[in-house]
């Protein structure tokens, strides 16, 4: 059980969020959220639909305007930066919608990942997903759901990100692909921190170092020890 031995958490703080408040127009979504992520952690966010998990990731990635609060990465302030700037700093957001650029080929999708980062080493990222190697010339619109998710993650990996924010990666995917993704996440964790929004509890239990539980826009629990995560304590927050 490599991820749960507590080693990874001790390597210093990568991302810190304090006092985060976010609203969509009139309706407030996040209330005073505080969290931190260590440099080699896998952190899972769980909670019901509408608890504000995706909003949290999008806020960190710079897609939403914050009402108040601070977000820092290695003590560098992220608030007010454009989202492409944050992505360039190595914080990549992988959205939930599994929408690849369907009119572009797989290779062109990867090219766009390389555009900003100047990292053209596609072999490295497709090594995680050998299936993609055979599909390079195919239009991404013709990929299956699992292949799209792989492509989105592969695309985000270009440029060696130090933090990956992955939104519901396994939603609607076949079990075999989920277990493949689980191995990939473990592998990725050697070089980057991961924040994963996930409803799939077995996966969360298997890979997460820590779990934040969100309810109605607030963090209601932080489960840091392996035992309580594994004991499915977080189930009560779903």
């Amino acid at each position: 059980m490599p991820p749960l031995d507590g080693m990874a958490t001790g390597t210093g703080e990568l991302l810190a969020v304090t006092g985060l408040n976010v609203s969509y127009g009139e309706s407030k979504v996040l209330f005073d959220v505080n969290l931190h992520i260590g440099a080699n952690e896998i952190v899972a966010c769980v909670g019901r639909n509408g608890a504000g998990k995706s909003t949290l990731l999008k806020s960190i990635a710079g897609f939403l305007k914050l009402n108040s609060g601070t977000v820092t990465c290695n003590r560098v302030n992220l608030v007010g930066r454009m989202s492409y700037d944050i992505a360039k700093m190595g914080i990549k957001y992988v959205p939930q919608d599994k929408k690849v650029f369907s009119d572009l080929t797989v290779q062109e999708n990867l090219e766009l990942g390389s555009y900003a980062t100047k990292d053209y080493n596609w072999d490295r990222v497709t090594d995680y997903f050998p299936k993609l190697k055979a599909l390079m010339e195919r239009k991404a619109g013709f990929l299956s759901g699992g292949e799209r998710q792989m492509l989105m993650i592969a695309r985000a990996l270009l440029g060696h990100p130090k933090l990956l924010l992955i939104d519901e990666p396994t939603e609607g995917l076949a079990p075999s692909i989920v277990s493949h993704l689980r191995e990939v996440f473990r592998e990725l964790n050697k070089a980057a921190a991961l924040v994963i929004v996930e409803q799939n509890l077995p996966l969360v239990c298997a890979i997460a170092n820590r779990v934040y539980a969100l309810k109605e826009g607030r963090i209601v629990a932080e489960l840091a020890d392996a035992a309580s995560i594994r004991a499915d304590v977080c189930e009560k927050y779903l």
Binding site: M82, Y84, A87, K92, L112, G113, A116, A156
Partner: protein
């Protein structure tokens, strides 16, 4: 109808369709990527035409004038994008439509200020005629058609072979994901807007020798450009090309049969197509952002 009349009618339709295409492509690209309706493209068309007129007066060379028109139209569109559109990308579609109409009307005022209201003639750069199946056809009109196809090929290459073009295509599908990959989307927007403005300027410059240049010339082609964009489908380059030539032929051949048809027939066709397919021939259903 005689074959000669028909041939010259078809050539006329092709050339006018080319002008429509060059203008509509800007509207279409801006809608596709930025989700704005940029009515001010019609201003850049007038700017291109007026610059062609003035530079032709100064240098005596129409082509130099057209080139100047393209450059200045590009510069003006760059300024407008930076000063105005930058602030309204996030807003609803109607917002950009109203604002750009303001830019168009205001720009017409500026043109009146500099050039007055008297229509100006621009000489045709090539007076030569060429024989096509027994009909004398002005070479200039053929050149206009050739330029339109060159532009289409250029746009196609740009969108499919360059990384910036690929990013624009990706952005047409989903701008947020492009941004999430670390690509500066607002720069893409600026590039697209300048391309659109410059092409509208090119349309104006090429059209200038065929018509009289006057301040409200943009408003005169407005309805046709709209019909082209609507028939082709907002956001589709291929649809724009096809519908531009449809509208061009309908205008030209229609007026051969019965003069008022030139204006009415494209409108009827547009209504028909909308009845069958409310998003135009190649338009995609509205992608909500």
């Amino acid at each position: 109808m005689s074959a000669q009349l028909l041939t010259s009618g078809v050539i006329f339709g092709l050339s006018i369709g080319s002008i429509f295409f060059l203008m509509a492509i800007g509207l279409s690209l801006c809608f596709g990527l930025m989700r704005i309706i940029s009515l001010d493209q019609l201003l850049y068309y007038s700017v291109g035409a007026y610059l062609t007129y003035s530079l032709t007066l100064v240098t005596g060379n129409v082509w130099l004038g057209v080139l100047g028109g393209v450059v200045v139209a590009g510069i003006v569109s760059f300024a407008v994008e930076r000063l105005i559109f930058r602030r309204i990308y996030e807003r609803e579609l109607t917002f950009s439509m109203i604002t750009s109409f303001g830019v168009l009307i205001g720009g017409i005022g500026v043109i009146k200020f500099f050039w007055g209201v008297v229509p100006r003639p621009v000489p045709v750069p090539l007076m030569a005629q060429i024989d096509i199946i027994g009909t004398e056809v002005p070479v200039y009109r053929l050149i206009v058609v050739a330029i339109a196809f060159l532009v289409y090929a250029g746009i196609w290459l740009f969108l499919n072979r360059t990384i910036t073009g690929k990013a624009i295509r990706a952005g047409i599908e989903n701008v947020e994901h492009v941004e999430g990959l670390g690509i500066n989307v607002s720069r893409l927007f600026t590039i697209t807007f300048i391309i659109a403005g410059a092409l509208s300027g090119l349309a104006g410059g090429l059209h200038a020798p065929l018509i009289m240049v006057d301040p409200s010339m943009g408003l005169e082609v407005l309805a046709f450009v709209f019909m082209v964009v609507i028939i082709g489908g907002l956001g589709s380059i291929k649809g724009t090309l096809i519908s531009a030539f449809i509208v061009g032929q309908v205008v030209s051949l229609g007026s051969l049969i019965y003069a008022p048809l030139a204006q009415m027939a494209p409108f009827a066709i547009m209504l028909l197509i909308l009845l069958v397919k409310p998003t135009g021939l190649y338009g995609s259903p509205l992608l909500k952002r």
